[in-house]
């Protein structure tokens, strides 16, 4: 099977005056469709940077990046943006809902940038509201929702266009454990349904929802391990 993502000797460098700092060093990574991968590591290891590059938000790096066989490193900004729009959904630690839009309007945002016709847009948003049991919240603004509810909307927004890949940057970082558990169960269900998920987390318990853990340190991949899944989770504190 063709990997969803292939990274070859990928490096990210920032310059501060005469000095160069490597945020990522020689990353070589294959991620297959349907995987649930967790990126872990201490602060400053380069986890979020790697996620931004995989998510095509960051175009300033060197090396080779193939997404479904397409050479992302050779694409111009417009083509990269199209590839990102068609295939990737984001979930953020701080939810990143737009404050002055209602839940309904927030869910519409990704659709508005894919030129989805109005009728279809309404139908997709209604489906998402129904699927995530947030129909009753559709006219509320983000500040009228709890953190868990906001993240639920954030996940709904990420999956509304049925992306092949969901990138989650510490998705439960701002939630209490029960809410976090709920979100992780949701990710698990989405992954079981075939969506590839890459999450960044510090939580061993959240990592146990996935099937592979990639450890980063100082920009290097230091280990890759398979997780024991539900069994491991049972031994972790909630």
């Amino acid at each position: 099977m063709e990997p969803l993502i292939q990274l070859r000797n990928l490096e990210k460098v920032v310059e501060a005056g005469p000095n160069k700092f490597f945020l990522l060093r020689r990353i070589n990574l294959d991620i297959q469709p349907g995987e649930f991968v967790t990126i872990m590591g201490p602060s400053g290891a380069g986890k979020s940077t790697l996620l931004s590059i995989i998510g095509m938000l960051d175009g300033a790096w060197i090396g080779d990046y193939y997404f479904l066989g397409e050479a992302v490193h050779k694409l111009n900004v417009k083509k990269r943006n199209e590839l990102h729009k068609a295939n990737i959904g984001f979930v953020f630690q701080s939810y990143h809902l737009i404050d002055n839009l209602t839940v309904f309007e927030n869910l519409e945002v990704p659709l508005s940038y894919k030129n989805v016709p109005h009728k279809e847009r309404i139908s997709l948003v209604c489906d998402a509201l129904d699927r995530f049991h947030i129909v009753g919240k559709k006219d509320l603004f983000p500040n009228q929702l709890s953190g868990g509810q906001q993240q639920l909307v954030g996940v709904a927004r990420a999956v509304i266009l049925s992306p092949k890949l969901i990138l989650a940057d510490e998705p439960t970082g701002n939630l209490h454990s029960a809410q976090g558990e709920e979100i992780m169960e949701l990710f698990k269900r989405l992954n079981d349904a075939g969506t590839t998920i890459i999450q960044v987390t510090h939580s061993e318990r959240n990592a146990s929802y996935g099937n592979r853990i990639i450890q980063l340190k100082d920009g290097w991949v230091v280990s890759e391990t398979a997780t024991a899944g539900a069994q491991a989770r049972a031994s972790q504190p909630a």
């Binding site: 938000l57 960051d58 943006n81 729009k85 701080s94 990143h96 737009i98 945002v109």
Partner: protein, 282 residues
């Protein structure tokens, strides 16, 4: 009778000044001392004081009714002339013969075939031939006379223009400031939208659309207020129209262009927002 201008003229005055005779006759050389005192009136005077009757042959007096001065017989009606710029309405005017009411001083008006001031020496010699003691002074072209008569209002107009330009610059700076601030406040939102698939073009449209909305709201409030003020001004000043196309079409377009430019710079900045940095921006 109230509020009439009295002009003492020579017989050729109306033809020279191209004031059309509408009824009766002009002042003639025969209207001299000892003949029937006559007057030619303007149409506005005829309308105001003889609304339902023919004014020709009627009499009027340039003095209180019980004054012993002579009654003037109306012999002609001519078009109105604007002698002032403040009053938009025509001012009733009575024209008398200079032979029947000699003034203390006279203004000599000449229509020339070329550059008017080149005729001054010839006119001086002609006047000196009649009376060497008569001095000619304050010699001007009619254009200068007219421009001198509006110098006050022209000064006000220039000042208003300068204030208008200052207001335009302030409005542009204001729109720029508001849009700039809006872009800063929406940095996080811009990052979110980029992460959701917005292109640079989408972001530019978002910011420019916001600027256009503010401009439309401003014009929606400003234009009706300006129309009301212009309406009030048009009733006070001659030559000012309430629905002036320059004021209500050209200037709003200029303002819209300025507002678009003032929004464009922040929009350009928004396009270059780094989504990673923007998403960290709270």
């Amino acid at each position: 009778m109230r509020n009439a201008i009295v002009q003492t003229i020579s017989p050729n005055y109306f033809g020279l000044m191209q004031i059309a005779l509408r009824e009766g006759r002009e002042i003639a050389n025969t209207d001299a001392d000892g003949t029937l005192p006559v007057a030619v009136i303007s149409r506005s005077l005829a309308r105001r004081y003889f609304p339902d009757e023919k004014p020709l042959g009627k009499k009027l007096k340039v003095a209180p009714a019980d004054d012993s001065s002579a009654w003037l017989t109306i012999v002609g009606i001519v078009d109105d002339v604007h002698y002032g710029w403040i009053d938009k309405n025509d001012v009733p005017t009575i024209y008398r013969s200079y032979r029947q009411a000699p003034p203390y001083y006279a203004s000599l008006v000449l229509r020339t075939g070329g550059e008017p001031l080149s005729f001054v020496p010839a006119v001086r010699s002609q006047v000196a031939a009649v009376d060497p003691d008569l001095s000619l002074f304050n010699i001007k072209t009619l254009d200068k006379v007219i421009s001198d008569s509006v110098v006050g209002i022209a000064y006000v107009a220039v000042m208003m223009g300068v204030l208008g330009i200052i207001a335009l610059v302030l409005a542009a700076v204001g729109v720029y400031g508001v849009m700039s601030n809006a872009v800063s406040e929406r940095t996080n939102e811009i990052g979110i939208r980029m992460a959701m698939g917005a292109t640079a073009n989408d972001i530019q449209k978002l910011v420019l659309g916001n600027g256009a909305l503010l401009t439309l709201i401003g014009m929606g409030i400003g234009l009706p207020v300006a129309f009301l003020l212009a309406n009030a001004l048009s009733s006070l000043l001659f030559g000012v129209k309430a629905a002036d196309p320059v004021a209500f079409i050209v200037l709003p377009l200029v303002l819209a262009a300025v507002a678009t430019l003032a929004s464009y710079l922040p929009a350009r900045r928004a396009v270059h927002v780094d989504p990673i940095t923007a998403l960290r921006y709270e």
